[in-house]
Amino acid sequence: MAAFRFSRTALDVAALRAELADPACGGYAAFEGWVRDHNEGERVRRLEYEAFEALAVREGERIIAAARERFGVAHALCAHRVGELGIGELAVWVGVSAAHRDEAFRACRFIIDEVKHRVPIWKKEHYVGGDSGWVNCERCAAPGAESGAHAHERSR
């Protein structure tokens, strides 16, 4: 099954984790992105995720292959929700198993960073006041972010 995948329903963390089990692995690192009740000073009520799935899966697979090669980890997976999510829901899960913890941590961090930066997924925040807005990618929002592919204004 693909190492990067989308789901329209709640992610089953136990099942995902089980795919990484390996008697040769001593370290497992996981990251989960949860829907937070606030962002940049606004109170968030729910989120809506949308993806260009064909390209996103391809790009996600490339990220995971790069992580496996670069850090020498045994197994890595990423699953991302699409659709409507409420506060506290699991939006994205990354899991990595490896012989040792150092490479597991580094690969896990690499994957989530790259996924957020490169994979065509978008999220729209719906605020408590009824307003809504598409979220900037983190790097664009950072001062001194490169112009070009990722700079943009808050688009609401």
Binding site: F52, V115, W122, K123, A149, S155
Partner: protein
């Protein structure tokens, strides 16, 4: 960002072709549709986006977008061919 004169001279020699455009996120909302089939003389995605931006109230400039052709990241200067599926990709924010 209008195409340059040189580019337009070239463009005028290119025959119209049928292709599809898909819209995501803010572009989907501003285009009011997920997808459309259209016939265009735009030689590359750059001119195609300019053509669409004249029709829809797009607020994102090409500088902040990426483009994909037939499901793969592409260059703004890649020649468009009949039957291409073009996607303009707003700044991403997964996770």
């Amino acid at each position: 960002m209008p195409p340059s004169a040189a580019c337009c001279a070239a463009e005028s020699t290119i025959s119209p072709k049928a292709l599809t455009v898909q819209y995501y996120a803010l572009l989907r909302e501003q285009a009011g549709r997920r997808e459309e089939a259209l016939t265009t003389s735009a030689p590359t995605p750059r001119e195609l986006y300019a053509e669409l931006a004249a029709r829809y109230p797009f607020t994102l400039t090409p500088e902040v977008l990426r483009v994909a052709i037939n499901g793969e990241f592409s260059e703004w200067s890649t020649p468009l061919a009949a039957g291409d599926a073009v996607v303009f990709i707003p700044p991403v924010a997964g996770g």
